[in-house]
Symmetry: D2
Subunit: 356 residues, 4 copies
């Protein structure tokens, strides 16, 4: 089988680098174009990107020439699908332009997440929302699919089985988020060593909104889940891996054992379709009293290609301060599952469903 040629928009940033790294050995996709800001156009990827991952830059991709984020540049390389890790100030317009030109856009940017007919996909959780693409495709062949904010993904992955089994009434989450969530240059070392920052701009609003869209329905338009959601977001001195303390109320009474069991049983379309980047199981439930820990557990996920794709849950216990209360801790790798990895899994799903 010939590989599908893909482009990466915003390829030199931290998430762009994750795309390059994860796609370099992908069985279905092959990077055919990488875009960056105009100052870098014409340089090789090696020259343009200040590489910051601990895994070395892949050889083949290092020699690709940077192009501008233009549909023509993508089409010139025979590309039908682009991943967008564009900076937020340009994402909105460029992604739209790509879709209008007939390209499939898989974006982990926030620009179009809440748009009408734009599905906000975690493949295990709401693959069926892809049906919304019909709403978009009325206007042509291209479309935009988005992945959620990095903080929402682990939360939604862990909540989905509970919601299906017991119903969710109320969710409160307090996050301890990794530095890479702000990009490589986002948090100065002087700001975070021996410190934490109890604030991440717009993050609390995103979690509440996105979660309800993801757990909601699409019937010609999106209807949101009826769950009360509140968040408090904090940055801590961890390189990768968002940890979240979750308190929740279920509709039907749920025991900690019942919650753990439904999480362990949980699987979604990626597992059923055996997608290349699907983790088995998608939710890992640990029994130790002091796990998950970001440094030890952020690369959870089997097989090898799915490392960093699993959501890890621990400390599931009853919360007597809430009615039908449960609390637990959830961890998710924010630049793998929370960004590039989730988008790649979306692309695999699109392919398996013959939408690209």
């Amino acid at each position: 089988m010939d590989k599908i040629k893909v482009g990466i928009l915003g390829s030199t940033g931290l998430v762009g680098q994750r795309y390059v790294s994860m796609l370099s050995s992908h069985p279905w996709f092959e990077v055919a174009a990488v875009s960056a800001s105009s100052a870098s156009v014409g340089k090789s990827y090696r020259e343009a990107a200040k590489w910051v991952l601990d895994k070395d830059m892949p050889e083949r991709e290092s020699e690709i020439r940077i192009v501008g984020a233009k549909p023509t540049a993508m089409k010139a390389e025979g590309i039908g699908l682009v991943f967008s890790a564009l900076p937020s100030e340009v994402a909105k317009a460029v992604e739209l332009e790509m879709a209008k030109a007939g390209l499939a856009v898989v974006a982990d940017t926030s620009a179009h997440r809440m748009d009408q007919h734009v599905p906000l996909i975690i493949p295990e959780v709401n693959a069926r929302h892809l049906i919304a693409l019909r709403g978009q495709r009325k206007n042509g062949k291209g479309f935009i699919v988005t992945g959620p904010n990095c903080t929402t993904i682990g939360l939604a992955m862990s909540l989905k089985p509970i919601h299906s089994e017991f119903g969710l009434r109320r969710v409160l989450v307090s996050t301890m988020q990794a530095l890479s969530g702000a990009g490589f240059y986002g948090v100065p070392s002087m700001a975070i060593i021996d410190n934490l920052i109890p604030y991440i701009k717009n993050e609390e609003e995103k979690i509440a909104q996105e979660l309800l869209k993801i757990l909601g329905d699409y019937k010609g338009s999106f209807s949101f889940a009826k769950i009360k959601v509140g968040a408090s977001c904090h940055r801590v001195g961890v390189l990768d891996g968002h940890t979240e303390a979750v308190f929740l109320e279920t509709v039907k009474n749920a025991s900690p054992e019942g919650v753990k069991e439904c999480m362990r049983r949980f699987e979604g379309e990626p597992q059923k379709l055996k997608l290349p980047s699907a983790p088995f199981p998608p939710v890992v439930v640990r029994e130790e009293p002091d796990r998950p820990q970001p440094r030890l557990d952020r690369l959870s996920g089997a097989p090898e290609r799915a490392k960093g794709m699993a959501t890890v849950v621990g400390r599931v216990r009853a919360e007597s301060a809430l009615d039908n209360g449960i609390k637990y801790v959830v961890l998710s790798h924010n630049t793998i599952r929370g960004a590039a990895g989730n988008a790649i899994l979306i692309a695999e799903l699109l392919k398996a469903k013959e939408l690209v």
Copy 2:
């Protein structure tokens, strides 16, 4: 005025060092005896203590000889009041022995916190609980007063004005606790760099229990406050200063402005009595979106002697996921206000009320 001679039990650990440092220039108290484990008895404090504070060991105290934790050793120095920072395995028996021998014991250990007739005091919050000492003193002149767990103190300081003004129905708290809370040798660097640990043994239980005793009443015996309290406790790579994300429901509807205002107006006995270590104001409310931060705010508190004694609150906002919901972030220095400083303030209160 002659200074009151005091003893420090468990003087060489991290909290013991805070006592030595804070008492070295105290206007009312003077360290006359320091105890440590038997291996150190007879050595000078300088020889016995591996000093770890950034402020240098005070000269006078450095030359005091270590004694055993025996009432006779304290009385031999003319001591009537001892501070206990004893290790938990010996605290229970030794503190009791001291009290039976007629000494006033101010403990920030957990051994007797939940005992009958033993007040659990944050001077600004429940000074009136000192009346419970009458229950103890039936049996002699000595008594035990305790201070709460370091995590409970900042939480209770911030909740007290809300509870007085609006009534508390439900409190959920997610903590991000400093390393010093586990003692100098408590958390290995290998365990916490680029990591966090979502578990602190017994901490969640302590918070719930202690908070209800502190906010409760004493009328011949303690009755506990009727508030639903739940906690999730986590250790992060911060040297000093516990940060807590608080979600709560009030009985009477409260706006964020109303909450901030009642916090700012709040004062307690230490402020009324102008105790030497009382912070003015006891609760500092900040308006910046990204404060409090432990490194920047943990030493809040005026005047100079009260640095680290103030509780700092920020990000007060409505929480729509709860009924009459409010959320905020609170910070408190865990080895100053959360341990040695709170105990010293208790001792100042005892002195002002002529209980020592």
Copy 3:
């Protein structure tokens, strides 16, 4: 005595903030103007500066309006002396313009450090180099005095007494430098947590050049000291305080005890003149095997105003791999003694010598 009005050029950066903080309670100087980039002109200092020090912004200075870095703006406020913490790309021209307009410029920037007739001053080490100002003042009343790179200062302070007593032949230094040396935004947290960076641009060259000028002579022009100097510079995850491992060869044989003794005896003009920010002693020699440590020792220096102004030396021992070899570890606070504090001490020296 009326205080001398001073200006701060580049007042909103990390070093600028140190100036504002240290000068706010200075007995001789008073901040009368603060400059920043044109976008901030007209704003209050509070609005313009994103304050990052743990000590709060001083009230009086917070209300000063930002002006442009123009001599007229300084003179309009009655200022005769300006401190420069300007970004390197503008420092060269602006400092020169200030001097030409008759202002005394005390700069801790690198722009003019190696210029002819521009003294590069550590007040304890080479106060006598101020005589070079005569060379500059031929052309008018203004002049430029510079302070060395933050890494050079602690090194030179510790070497000076050895050079005077035993003669230096060869110095090799390996540095472990703090993050604040690169400015608040200089080192991303992602770059340094669980990591170090074995490179600081131009730093090794600066150390060698500057040290030889400082330890050299001025007789109408500067002649450099004849010492072989080599450096290897590294950034580590420490907030403040540069630590340096020094290996050296002396001309006359020196024992570790002899070296420690001459360091302890060492004093300079600031001590003789009892300047307000002079540390007593200027070089603190510690005997513990594991000191100096940046977090514990960086604020060394008495009296209170001189905290962070002392150089701390430890682990002085013989180095058998060199002829007449000695090695030790030296620590110096890089934004206090290494920048703002050294410049303020220079200004005090200028005042005491009636050069301003």
Copy 4:
């Protein structure tokens, strides 16, 4: 081919865990016994070891029962070779006892490193020293082979090609060592966050001694290399990977290019014999100005099994302060190449040379 059964002495500590992890998939060796302190004897490895690596504990090994560190226990399992990661207080006696009982002991402990007839081996550097085993085996079949201190290994690997090509006259090294070098519980987080410790007990002495033995000769007895070696050792807040700044003088004049070239050409017995854990190349020379960095480069080494086995050198440059002076930065993974990995490579060498 049947695998050779091996035992691990001191299997539950940090280095012991590295052995278990690295040997779990070894093509030649199979863990047949693991020892730990008497309190753990009889427990499964899973129960006895508090696992701290980010790679999960291997299944097969997790079920092995802990035995005491006795030759009989090893022989009962058909073991002829043991790896020792014993605590220093017991290593000396136990390793000797094992050898006397006829076992081959490969130790990365310091107990016997400097003993007569005990080779101190880095397989690439001094494989020929294995001939010293003849001196030991006079007394029986067993013997002890040791690997050097973790700090010595990277240094010696980088120096060996220079010494062979140009001759070394003088070496000065300033280290920035990782936390894991002190064991998982060795450095408290309170001691190292926002800090460094300029002292590691006995380390400077070990480097000097061991290096000269490794670079020396064996002709019936060891004669030491005639090089002047001096060290200054420091602990920094890095999890894994010792970084060292090296200054040296060569006998024959060497250019930086010449040094890099001889390092790149360097290979040793492990490469010639194609041992399973041999890195190709053994010394990686990087050209970027800011490398090696521990977090990015500590797992260097190809193929997959050799990750963490390569020594990484960067910033090779002339040092004008020394005669024929060169300086560079070297990085080596201290618990892989610096401990378990080096010992496993020694064992592979013993096997390839039919000494076990």
